[in-house]
């Protein structure tokens, strides 16, 4: 009896138009019937969603600074495609660690969203393109004119074997150096348009003599320790050698790497003692509150500055010695293999690439557009400065943020730098980085 009913419902389930009503009737009859009905209803979901039209977008943008920016992208999309229901599948958690774990589970279970957020560079390529989770969108780049609108270095970061795989929406600058104007003034320090390593070290000594922490650092979440080093390495070695090192084309046992490590060691003599207990925003807050002179941090720190109403009193330059380079931390969106609503997803990417969407999104997110043909007047003075740097400077990927290397190298880089902050042993650092590069090379082969 039970079996018969299940079979009957199963047969109906294959005729999807009749399904909803018949499943509901079956549900009342028997427990087994209800189960079969449920199974059938689930089976029918893709067909139903295609009819109503949905777009599921996965990200880790849930914080007060990020959620409105994401909403601006949704609004831009809905203005053009009002009948499509946008589903925000954001997963909370700093730097997307939780979100990436959830996404990995969904992708391994063949349940991709219609599009997901990812940093370009190796994070995109190693995690998603090489395992075959992403559709190429080279035709979209051509039809939307993105190849002309974005810098070639950036497009290369979203490409593998000549095909593009994601649309960049916003660009953060990783080599920012923030300072408290009042603290500088009180201690007779003038900070110009740029700052060299020597200028920083001199200023740091003045501040230390005055009893102020010269450089605030936070190592509880590790990335800041790695980021400050990669910026210092960029300053010493220059953008070309920096690129070669992370691409595995240069050996880490190198005079420039050693000089950079020694310089970083000198800077570490000027940091707050409680750095292992702090997270990056607390270190930025030390500068805002006047408890520290400088903080080396990507320009998401500017979000903290705005949130604490400290724009007037906060100045910025490039991380000492990195003037002329722009460390890329780029958010982008993908087209999955087997997206439930591929047409909606392609339209979403078309919208993301547009001037309008990028101009709506970036002032809220605190980043700058990936397109260079935008109206710079709508941006803050800091972001106009960043836009100019993006247009004119050497663009290099960030390792601390996963763009320059494989995740395995990134983790080894973090571990090596966390050890270095403690023991400041240059030889050990170089050995650890060489080991990590060997691992990277072995995996690439």
């Amino acid at each position: 009896m039970t079996v018969d009913l299940t079979k009957k419902l199963g047969g109906r389930a294959s005729r999807r138009h009749l399904l909803k009503g018949s499943a509901a009737v079956g549900a009342g009859a028997l427990v087994a019937g209800r189960l079969a009905g449920l199974a059938a209803a689930q089976d029918a979901t893709p067909a139903a969603s295609a009819a109503t039209g949905q777009l599921e977008v996965f990200s880790w943008w849930t914080s007060p600074g990020e959620a409105p920016a994401l909403q601006a992208l949704f609004d831009a999309y809905s203005a053009l495609y009002p009948d499509v229901e946008v589903i925000n599948a954001a997963v909370a958690g700093g730097a997307g660690v939780n979100a990436r774990a959830v996404l990995a589970t969904r992708l391994q279970g063949n349940q991709p969203p219609d599009s997901w957020q990812v940093h370009v560079g190796r994070e995109l390529i190693d995690n998603y393109v090489v395992p075959g989770y992403c559709e190429p969108i080279t035709d979209l780049y051509e039809s939307e004119g993105l190849l002309e609108a974005m810098p070639q270095t950036l497009i290369d970061q979203a490409s593998q074997d000549g095909e593009q795989y994601s649309v960049p929406v916003g660009v953060h600058r990783g080599n920012g150096f923030w300072y408290n104007r009042q603290v500088m003034e009180e201690n007779g320090i003038t900070v110009g348009e740029t700052m060299s390593i020597e200028e920083f070290l001199t200023a740091a000594e003045t501040l230390q003599a005055a009893g102020i922490v010269p450089l605030s650092l936070a190592t509880k979440d590790t990335f800041a320790a790695a980021q400050t080093f990669e910026n210092t390495l960029l300053a010493v070695a220059g953008p070309e050698k920096y690129d070669q090192l992370f691409k595995g084309e240069a050996d880490w046992d190198d005079a420039d790497v050693r000089t950079a490590a020694e310089t970083y060691g000198k800077m570490l003599a000027f940091v707050n003692e409680d750095h292992p207990a702090l997270t990056w925003d607390q270190a930025t807050a030390m500068v805002i509150e006047g408890n520290a002179g400088f903080n080396s941090m990507g320009d998401w720190a500017y979000g903290e500055v705005v949130a604490r109403d400290a724009v007037e009193n906060t100045g910025w330059v490039s991380h000492p010695g990195t003037n002329g380079s722009f460390v890329l931390v780029v958010d982008s969106f993908t087209l999955p293999v087997g997206a439930p609503n591929p047409e909606n997803a392609r339209n979403w990417l078309r919208v993301l690439g547009s001037r309008e969407a990028q101009e709506a999104f970036n002032p809220l997110k605190g980043s700058i557009p990936a397109r260079t043909d935008i109206n710079r007047e709508i941006f803050s003075p800091y972001h106009q400065w960043s836009i100019d740097s993006f247009a004119n400077d050497a663009l290099v990927p960030s390792c601390a943020h996963g763009q320059a290397s494989s995740p395995a190298f990134q983790q080894a880089f973090y571990d090596a730098l966390l050890g270095f902050v403690d023991d400041q042993d240059v030889d050990t650092l170089v050995l650890n980085l060489q080991d990590a590069a060997a691992l990277d090379a072995e995996m690439a082969s």
């Binding site: 990436r100 774990a101 990995a104 190693d126 090489v130 409680d274 995740p407 080894a412 995996m443």
Partner: protein, 348 residues
């Protein structure tokens, strides 16, 4: 002659119930395996099956987002890589020290509290609840709160100022007391020198054999949370000690100290062993408390294998190394638990 009736009697005894209960007997035979089957299947699949899969992954080539379950050559290479990583060596040192200090504090503290409450002092019911409450908190809550307490700028160090301790020290010309707590990367009481004197190659070891100072606040927080549990175990044990034993001791003129030292605590030994085992395996697996409180710490001073596994799998995507480290953790827990289980089974 004598054996024949015996045999036939045994047959008769065996035959009669079999005949009477034939239907029930066979039903029982089917029923118990049937009832056990779901949980047996679940346990074999989800516990032993997944342990097996983890062992396989630890021997495989899977070290990127793309799944690769082919066997890595030479076999066991992941373990070789794992044990040669200085971070994992530090983790093993930390987990052993953490377990030792934590057990000492939690079991010692729990026993002390239980003995105090056993004295039926006023309000012992109230204090029993108070001491047990921390056990109800999640490790994350404990970790975050204690990270504030042991932050050198905002926590307990302010107390040293407030009670005037630092003013007193200053009047003697002594530096104010301001420990770095969880931010102090020092490794105290290093044995490397002493070992090197006996065994010269030890001079080249990168691992510092000593007590990382930052680990101590973390063990205090863990002991604060779990000494209430140890106390409850000991209170239950104290309740089972017959009153006659205490009376006999009192009649023989034993002092309180001797009563506890020579009679009650030795009687609590089985409870002590159970508590040590339960808390010991908690501490070998510890992750959330440390992750929330101090993270990896200065120079990995508070890093533990749990955090290492998490980062290797979910950040570095070196699934084989992460799996190998979890198998090492499993072995550590087994070393503690298996002898205990074996003893329990023998007692049954």
């Amino acid at each position: 002659m004598a054996t024949i009736p015996q045999v036939s009697a045994r047959d008769a005894v065996a035959a009669t119930p079999r005949r009477v209960s034939r239907s029930r007997f066979s039903f029982d035979r089917i029923l118990s395996p049937l009832l056990l089957a779901p949980s047996a299947v679940a346990v074999f699949l989800f516990v032993y099956g997944f342990i097996g899969i983890t062992v396989w992954i630890s021997l495989s080539n899977w070290r990127s987002a793309a799944e690769d379950l082919s066997l890595r050559q030479p076999i066991g290479d992941s373990y070789q890589v794992l044990f040669s990583q200085s971070r994992f060596q530090i983790d093993l040192r930390n987990t052993l020290l953490f377990t030792l200090i934590f057990l000492l504090l939690a079991v010692g503290g729990g026993l002390g509290l239980a003995v105090l409450l056993d004295r039926k002092i006023t309000g012992s019911g109230f204090f029993r609840s108070v001491f047990l409450f921390p056990y109800a908190l999640s490790f994350i809550t404990t970790g975050v709160t204690w990270s504030w307490i042991f932050n050198p700028e905002t926590g307990v160090n302010l107390l040293f100022d407030a009670i005037g301790l630092n003013a007193v020290l200053a009047s003697f010309g002594v530096e104010p007391l301001k420990p770095g707590w969880i931010t102090d990367g020092t490794v105290a009481w290093q044995l490397n020198g002493a070992i090197a004197a006996v065994y010269p190659p030890a001079a080249d070891w990168s691992l510092k054999l000593g007590i990382p100072v930052a680990l101590i606040p973390v063990t205090i927080a863990a002991a604060w949370q779990l000494s209430g549990f140890a106390m409850a175990m000991f209170l239950a044990g104290l309740g089972t000690i017959p009153h006659e034993v205490r009376e006999a001791a009192a009649l023989d003129g034993a002092t309180d100290r001797r009563l506890y030292q020579d009679i009650i605590v030795p009687l609590l030994k089985p409870i002590m062993v159970s508590t040590l085992i339960i808390l010991g395996h908690v501490s070998l697996k510890i992750f959330d408390l440390i992750f929330a409180m101090s993270g990896k710490g200065p120079g990995f001073a508070t890093d533990v294998p749990g955090i290492f596994v998490y980062e290797m799998i979910f950040r570095a995507q070196r699934y084989n190394i992460g799996a190998a480290a979890s198998i090492v953790m499993l072995v550590l827990v087994c070393i503690v638990i298996v002898p205990y289980l074996a003893r329990q089974l023998k007692e049954l």
